[in-house]
């Protein structure tokens, strides 16, 4: 029994209304181990930890805790057995004290009343045990996010947690706070607690974790020791690529590359974009007729860069130039007025207005041009809608069909048309072909190519390496909020992109752009 692992999950399966989210996933967590869980979008990490911590019921497989099969019905159930999750959004009571939060629901009692003295003393002891200097009597609200997270961990420890799950614990922490977290994790490990650690930041995984389990598309890929595992191999596992295969070319609908004309001021230049730890002095530029690809793993800062250029998030620093002119972009509508367009990654949350028709969705951004004195010209709307439905081959029963009833590919075409009818100068595409069928994918890819050929500048974020390699005239690789490499011409290969994603700089003569961007435009 003693060589049984602390937590063993075998053949885990989970189906959501007919869609298989997890199938045949195995994970084992040993005592005193920090175990990393990685995977790209849709890999199934969050589903897995929700099953691990009792938030979801599994549809298949076994979960063994210290050699005994367990069947958690709720997070409380899992917590009682010793499996505790600490989420990004900490579920604690802001107005109560640290001690109350730690002992919430199981306060020490004396004569039926809460024994405050004992509770504060016990809380102090727990905090000390994991090396934290926090006053147990302080209201939780007076602590910053990092310290609240520590309190949540302390709560888990005080429950006698054997396994602590940390889901992206560092996403809102500063560098210094991250080191405090590391100390806490090391103490937990020393006490024999198993830590499951989810993060997109490779540096963190390699610093604090012992082993890593990789998931892809809801399936188990591999479990490896981190020591000795090359980052590039880890990236290959995450993306499902063999290192030998990397040089092969896939089949996308992109034609020949459209290299931006040299020696001309770039159409768009974004300089020193900085926002907290998400963006660290990112500089990107793109010329007329150029498709600049942007690669990077989940959480590397690609979408953040796009949002920053488009004025969707407030920045700490940075400046965007279009045609050499500095833009004053405070909100998306400023960027749009300047001639920018942004096709978002998450169609449902940030693209479609579900209850409105294809016509209304398609013309939403162009309403100012299609109206006089605030009155929308139905004729102009119908003209544009008819033209773009035909040009992009949008399949809908009519222009009046609600957009939510359309397939993903057709929705994407409507959203693309929303921008094209504005005649933008620069197009930002965030995962333009994600989650759409093969046919629509090819159509959208050749359309992007056509648009670039007609003189638009394009920044294309994609997780599909084939798309980047074949579609881009230049590829910028992001990692941990920085541009770590820029690949041109013959250097653009899946191999080089993966290398840069993993290690921060590409092999060969590809130049790195970190901080080296020349000041002149």
């Amino acid at each position: 029994m003693s060589n049984e692992p602390l937590l063993r999950m075998e053949g885990i399966r989970k189906v959501f209304s007919g869609v298989v989210a997890l199938n045949g996933v195995d994970v084992t967590v040993e005592r005193g181990e920090a175990h990393a869980l990685v995977g790209e979008n849709g890999a199934g990490k969050s589903t897995l930890i929700k099953i691990m911590t009792g938030a979801y019921r599994r549809d298949g497989g076994r979960v063994m805790l210290e050699g005994r099969e367990v069947n958690f019905r709720s997070p409380e159930d899992a917590q009682e057995a010793g499996v505790v999750a600490v989420y990004q959004e900490v579920n604690l009571l802001t107005y109560r004290t640290v001690a109350e939060n730690i002992f919430l629901g199981r306060e020490p009692r004396r004569f039926g009343l809460i024994d405050w003295k004992k509770m504060n003393a016990d809380a102090g002891a727990v905090l000390q045990r994991i090396g934290l200097d926090i006053d147990p009597r302080a209201p939780l609200g007076s602590l910053n996010i990092a310290r609240r997270q520590m309190v949540a961990i302390a709560r888990g420890v005080s429950c006698g947690a054997k396994v602590v799950v940390l889901d992206e614990p560092t996403s809102s922490l500063t560098e210094h706070e991250v080191t405090i977290l590391y100390d806490v994790i090391r103490r937990l490990k020393a006490e024999g607690v198993g830590v499951v650690y989810i993060s997109h930041r490779f540096d963190e995984l390699y610093t604090i974790c012992d082993r890593v389990t990789v998931l892809r598309d809801g399936k188990f890929v591999a479990t490896r020791l981190l020591a000795g595992l090359e980052k590039i191999d880890l990236v290959c596992l995450m993306l499902g690529k063999q290192r030998e295969e990397l040089r092969q070319q896939g089949a996308t609908a992109f034609g020949e590359h459209h290299a931006g004309r040299k020696g001309i001021a770039p159409l768009l230049r974004a300089e020193n974009l900085t926002r907290g730890r998400k963006l660290d002095h990112v500089t990107v530029e793109a010329g007329r007729g150029e498709i600049v690809g942007m690669a990077g793993l989940l959480g590397s800062g690609r979408t953040e860069t796009a949002r920053a250029i488009f004025g969707a998030d407030a920045l700490d620093d940075g400046q965007v130039y279009l045609e050499g002119r500095a833009l004053d972009v405070r909100a998306p509508n400023d960027a749009i007025d300047a001639g920018l367009a942004f096709l978002t990654e998450d169609r449902k949350a940030e693209g479609i207005i579900p209850e409105l028709s294809v016509r209304e969705n398609l013309t939403l951004a162009a309403l100012p041009e299609m109206s006089r004195l605030g009155v929308v010209s139905r004729a102009k709307q119908d003209e544009a809608v008819g033209r773009f439905m035909k040009r992009l081959g949008i399949k809908a029963s009519s222009a009046e069909q609600k957009i939510r009833e359309l397939s993903g590919g057709n929705q994407q075409k409507v959203l693309l048309a929303r921008w094209l009818c504005k005649n933008p100068k620069f197009l930002i595409l965030d995962e333009p072909t994600r989650g759409i069928d093969i046919g629509a994918k090819g159509e959208i890819q050749s359309l992007i190519n056509e648009l670039a050929a007609s003189g638009l500048g394009v920044l294309m974020i994609s997780s599909e390496l084939e798309e980047l390699v074949e579609g881009s005239s230049r590829v910028v690789v992001m990692r941990d909020g920085r541009c770590v490499a820029e690949l041109r011409g013959a250097d653009i290969s899946q191999d080089n992109i993966i290398r840069a994603m993993a290690e921060g700089s590409a092999a060969g003569e590809a130049k790195t752009t970190t901080g080296a961007a020349d000041a002149g435009r």
């Binding site: 998306p332 939403l364 309403l367 100012p368 009155v375 139905r378 119908d382 009519s398």
Partner: protein
């Protein structure tokens, strides 16, 4: 509107419209049913004078409910309308000596400002609409009482102002004309203007609307200002009809009637969809029930219970069908 493409799509367009306004048709059928039943069983119901009275009584509610429809379409709510009516009433009554026109303009402007203030707090500081407008619901009536010198009844005699509540050009009460005009303009604004489209876009998906260049803050402020303005207008009509300003009573509980009319009419509280004609019908349904109960000598208390039941049924029928 005249090219071939439009004509080709007309069939589909018609079908989509019917589906789109199905809630309205549901409410409309309910209204017709109520009128038919009452015409048969309630003595003196089918009578021009009675219909005139129903319209007269429903007018202020409809004005407020139209504003409410715009607010709810953005996913918000405006609880402060009754208090804004009281403020407008108090302003008008105390400013009447400057002339009816000036008093009306001032009162409506103050009401619109109060609404804009709601909108600014909601969009600028991201406080929940229900909280912000609840605050004005509470404080607004206090303000109205302060304006009207401690909340006393202010009677007045000003024929040109009172015309707003008592005039009957060509036999039609002025407030009914105002109501029809407001509904007509609102239908047009909601369907055919950029503002109307932005309102439903913001309610349907605020993040997407913002990224499509919609000025979300401005749209929200405008919507609450519009709600305030229409509430102010309703307050003036009530005041003119009464011939006195009663800051303690004007518009009391009207926010609930307005919300009920909007919801019964087919505008979901979640926003993103709105039907102004539906709201008119919703308000009429509520009024017909009240009237028929009064005419049949059934107690007012029972009509409240029936109204509540109708609201529940209406919302149940119109609940989103999950695919």
């Amino acid at each position: 509107m005249s090219n071939a493409a439009t004509t080709g799509g007309a069939g589909g367009l018609g079908r989509a419209r019917i589906a789109d306004y199905a809630p309205t048709y549901g409410a409309l059928s309910a209204l017709v049913l109520l009128v038919v039943i009452n015409s048969i069983f309630t003595t003196n119901f089918f009578d021009l004078n009675n219909f005139r009275n129903i319209l007269l009584q429903v007018a202020p509610t409809v004005l407020v409910a139209v504003g409410m429809t715009f607010v709810i379409a953005t996913g918000g709510i405006d609880l402060s309308v009754g208090s804004v009516m009281a403020i407008a009433s108090a302003v008008a009554a105390t400013q009447l000596d400057r002339g009816a026109g000036v008093a009306i303009l001032l009162a409506v402007a103050v009401a619109a400002l109060a609404g804009a203030f709601n909108g600014a707090l909601i969009s600028g500081f991201r406080i929940q609409p229900i909280i912000v407008t609840l605050a004005l619901l509470i404080s607004g009536r206090g303000v109205a009482q302060v304006i009207s010198r401690g909340g006393q009844l202010i009677p007045f005699s000003n024929p040109s102002f009172e015309y707003l509540g008592k005039g009957t050009p060509a036999g039609v009460p002025v407030q009914v004309i105002v109501m029809v005009a407001v509904v007509a303009v609102a239908v047009f604004v909601m369907r055919a203007t950029t503002f109307g489209r932005y309102v439903v876009a913001v309610g349907g998906n605020e993040a997407a609307a913002r990224l499509a260049g919609v000025k979300v803050q401005r749209t929200k402020i405008a919507v609450y200002a519009l709600s305030g303005l229409l509430a102010g207008l309703a307050g003036l009509i009530e005041t003119a009809r009464l011939g006195a300003s009663d800051a303690q009573k004007v518009g009391l509980n009207i926010e609930l009637d307005a919300i009920a009319a909007t919801v019964v009419g087919g505008t979901p509280l979640t926003g993103g969809r709105a039907t102004v004609p539906g709201t008119l019908i919703g308000a009429l349904i509520m009024q017909v029930i009240t009237t028929s109960f009064v005419m049949n000598g059934i107690s007012y208390s029972w009509s409240l219970v029936i109204k509540a039941a109708i609201i529940i049924v209406a919302v149940y029928i119109q609940r989103p069908k999950v695919a």
